[in-house]
Amino acid sequence: MMKTEKIVFDIKNLNLFYGETQALKNIEFPIYEKEVTALIGPSGCGKSTFLRTLNRMNDLVESCKISGDVSFNDENIYQTGMDVIGLRKRVGMVFQKPNPFPMSIYDNIVYGPKCQGIKGKAELNEIVETSLKQAALWEEVKDRLKESALSLSGGQQQRLCIARTIAMKPEVILMDEPTSALDPVATAKIEDLIIELKQNYTIVIVTHNMQQAARISDRTAFFLLGEIVEYGDTSHVFSTPDQKKTEEYITGRFG
C-alpha cells in the first residue's frame, strides 16, 4: 500500500529532563501521516514520556524541562505563545487505563465539542453517532446512550474513550498502551479498530506487546534508556533489525 510519506511530526534534538534526571536523549525522527507508528522498549525507557511531549501533556509535571524541536505540521509546538489547547484538539490521546467520565455515554462524547462551544442538539447528536460508528461501538450502545459510561465493559470503555477523542476530529491520535489493561478479545477488537482508523488518522502507539507492534504498525521505534536505538519500517525491524540491541530485545534475549 502506498504511503503518503508526508511528515506530520518532526522531532529534532529532543532532550527532556525531570528535574536533574534526563529522561529523553537526543530524540530525532519523523512521524508520517496516516500511518501507525509504534514505540517499543522496556519499561521506564521514555516511550510514554516521549508520547506526552507530542501533545504537551508533560506540561502538567512541574519539574519537566524540554529542549529541542518538536514540529507539528512545520510548527514548533514548544514556541512561546503556542496555543496548547488548540494543539490538544488536533492531537488527541487515549490512555492505558480507560478513563471515561462518570457521566452518560452521550455526555462523554459531547464533552469535548461542548467545551469548544458547539451547542446545537442536532449537531451534537450527529457527532455522537459518527464518533461511535468510527470507534466500532455504535451498534452496541446506540440504545443506551443515556446510561452511565461506567456500566460498559473495559474494552467498551476504551472504545468509548477512542470515540471521545475522535469526536474532536483530531489529526493525530496518541495511544499510551491502550490495550494493556484489556483481555485478548477486547485487545483484538481495538487492534482491528486501529487498522481501520489509520486510513483517516495518524496514530502513534506505545506498546509493551511486541507482537502487537508487529501486527498493527507500519513503522517502529525502539526506545532504550531514553534514546532511540533503531527506527524503521516494522517489517525491517522485526525481520532484520540493524542494531544488535534491537535484535536482542525483540527476540526476548533481554528484558
Binding site: 501533545n55 501533556m57 502538567l60 512541574e62 489547547i85 488548540g86 490538544r88 484538539k89 488527541g92 490521546m93 490512555f95 487505563k97 478513563n99 471515561p100 467520565f101 462518570p102 457521566m103 452518560s104 455526555d107 464533552y111 469535548g112 467545551c115 469548544q116 443515556k146 452511565s148 461506567l150 474513550c161 471521545r164 477523542t165 474532536m168
Partner: protein, 404 residues
C-alpha cells in the same frame, strides 16, 4: 495452654472490646436522645413554634353599656372547665409554653361583655378576650380580686358572685420560639451564602491551581490550625470587626444577624476548605488528564468535571456547616446578642435557637424542660434540612449525570 486456644482467647477479648465500645457508644447516644425527649415532650406543641416569645399583658375594662347577663349555652363543658353563665366565659387550668401554671380562656360566649373591651393602658383601644389568653386577675369594685393563682374554679366562682366589674388583667400567650426559628433560618442562609463560595473557591485554588511550594504548604497548615480554634474567640473577633462593619454599612445599631453570619462564616471556612479539598483530592487524576487531552481548558476541567465529582464531599461540608450553625452559641452571644425577638430583622439583634436555649437556661429559674423541648425542635430541624438537601442533591446529580 496451647497456642491455638491462647490466640482464640486473644481474639475473643479483642472482639469483646470492640463490641463493648459500640455498645457503650450506643447507650450514651440513646441516653442523650431519651433524656431530651423525655423531658421535652411535655411542652412540645405547635404553638411553641408559631407564637411570639413576648407575652403582652393588657389591663382592660368593660365597654360602656356592657355588663353581666345571662349567657347560657346548650352544651356541657368537660371536667375541669368552669363556665360562668353570668359573664359568658369559660376558664380552665393549664400550663403555658414556659411551663408555668396559668388560667386560660377556654370559651367566650359571642354576646359576652368580654368580647369587646377597653384597653386601659396604651396601645390599641379595642381588645377582646379570646381563646388561650391567660387571665391573670379580675378586679371588682366591691370585693377582692380573683387571682389566677387560686385556680380557674375559684375564679369562676368569684366571677359568678360579683356583678360589678373594675378591670381585667390578661396576657397573650408567649414563650413561643418563632422568632428564634426564623433567626436560625436566616443565619443558615446568610452564613452559607458567605462561607460556601469563599470556602469552595479557596479549596479549588489550593488543590487545582496552586503550585506546591512552601508558601502553600504554610497556608494549608494554618487552615488546619484554625479548625481547632475555640469558637468563642471568633465571637470576640466578630464583636470587634463585623459588628462595627455592619453598623457602618447598614442601619444596624449593634450585633445583628449579618454580623453573626459573617462570624459563623469565618468559623466554618476552614472546615469547608478542608472537607472540599479532601473531596477534590479524591477525584482521580485520570479525569483531569482525559479532559485536558480533549482540549478543555483548566477552568473547564475544574468546573465541568472535577467539581461535580466532588459534589458529594461539598454536600457533606454543607451539612456539617449547618449543624455547626444551628448549634453554635458561644460566638453568637457576642456577635448577635441575646435579645429574643419576635419581629426579626437581619440588621438587628436576635437569638438563634441555641442562644435561645442558653437564655432559657440562664434565666431564674433555669427552664430545663423548655430547653429540652427546643432541643427536640432543633433535632427535627436538622433532620428535615438534611433530608431536603439530600433529595435536592440527588436530583441535581441526576440532572448532570454524575454518579454518586
Amino acid at each position: 495452654m496451647s497456642m491455638l486456644s491462647k490466640r482464640k482467647i486473644n481474639d475473643g477479648i479483642m472482639t469483646g472490646i470492640t463490641y463493648g465500645s459500640s455498645f457503650i457508644s450506643l447507650v450514651v447516644l440513646l441516653s442523650i436522645i431519651i433524656y431530651v425527649f423525655a423531658n421535652g415532650i411535655k411542652l412540645l406543641n405547635w404553638d411553641l413554634v408559631t407564637h411570639n416569645f413576648e407575652a403582652v399583658s393588657y389591663i382592660a375594662d368593660l365597654k360602656d353599656g356592657t355588663g353581666p347577663g345571662n349567657f347560657t349555652v346548650d352544651r356541657d363543658f368537660d371536667e375541669g372547665i368552669y363556665y360562668s353563665e353570668k359573664w359568658g366565659v369559660a376558664l380552665k387550668d393549664d400550663t403555658n409554653l414556659l411551663g408555668k401554671n396559668v388560667v386560660v380562656v377556654h370559651y367566650v360566649h359571642p354576646d359576652s361583655p368580654f368580647k369587646e373591651l377597653n384597653n386601659k393602658g396604651v396601645g390599641t383601644v379595642d381588645l377582646a378576650l379570646t381563646l388561650d389568653y391567660e387571665v391573670i386577675r379580675i378586679a371588682f369594685v366591691d370585693s377582692a380580686s380573683a387571682l389566677s393563682v387560686r385556680g380557674s374554679e375559684i375564679m369562676i366562682a368569684i366571677l359568678d358572685a360579683n356583678d360589678s366589674f373594675r378591670e381585667l388583667e390578661f396576657s397573650t400567650t408567649g414563650g413561643g420560639i418563632r422568632g428564634s426559628i426564623v433567626t436560625t433560618l436566616y443565619l443558615i442562609f446568610f452564613t452559607l451564602v458567605f462561607a460556601l463560595p469563599i470556602g469552595v473557591g479557596s479549596a479549588i485554588y489550593l488543590n487545582e491551581y496552586a503550585k506546591n511550594t512552601k508558601f502553600t504548604r504554610l497556608i494549608r497548615s494554618l487552615i488546619e490550625t484554625l479548625t481547632g480554634v475555640p469558637s468563642i474567640i471568633y465571637g470576640l473577633m466578630g464583636l470587634a470587626i463585623f459588628v462595627p462593619l455592619t453598623i457602618s454599612l447598614t442601619s444596624a445599631t449593634g450585633g445583628n444577624i449579618i454580623s453573626g453570619s459573617m462570624t459563623l462564616a469565618v468559623i466554618l471556612m476552614p472546615i469547608i476548605i478542608r472537607t472540599t479539598e479532601e473531596s477534590l483530592k479524591v477525584v482521580p487524576d485520570d479525569y483531569r488528564y482525559a479532559s485536558l487531552s480533549l482540549g478543555a481548558s483548566k477552568t473547564q476541567t475544574t468546573f465541568k468535571v472535577i467539581l461535580p465529582n466532588a459534589f458529594a464531599g461539598i454536600l457533606t461540608a454543607t451539612l456539617l456547616a449547618i449543624g455547626r450553625i444551628i448549634g453554635e452559641s458561644a460566638a453568637l452571644v457576642f456577635a448577635i446578642g441575646t435579645a429574643i425577638k419576635d419581629q426579626v430583622s437581619i440588621t438587628d439583634k436576635s437569638t438563634s435557637l441555641a442562644v435561645h436555649i442558653w437564655a432559657m437556661m440562664t434565666d431564674e429559674p433555669a427552664n430545663i424542660e423548655l430547653s429540652t423541648t427546643i432541643a427536640i425542635i432543633i433535632l427535627m430541624m436538622v433532620l428535615i434540612l438534611n433530608f431536603t438537601i439530600k433529595i435536592l442533591s440527588k436530583r441535581f446529580m441526576r440532572r448532570y449525570g454524575v454518579k454518586a
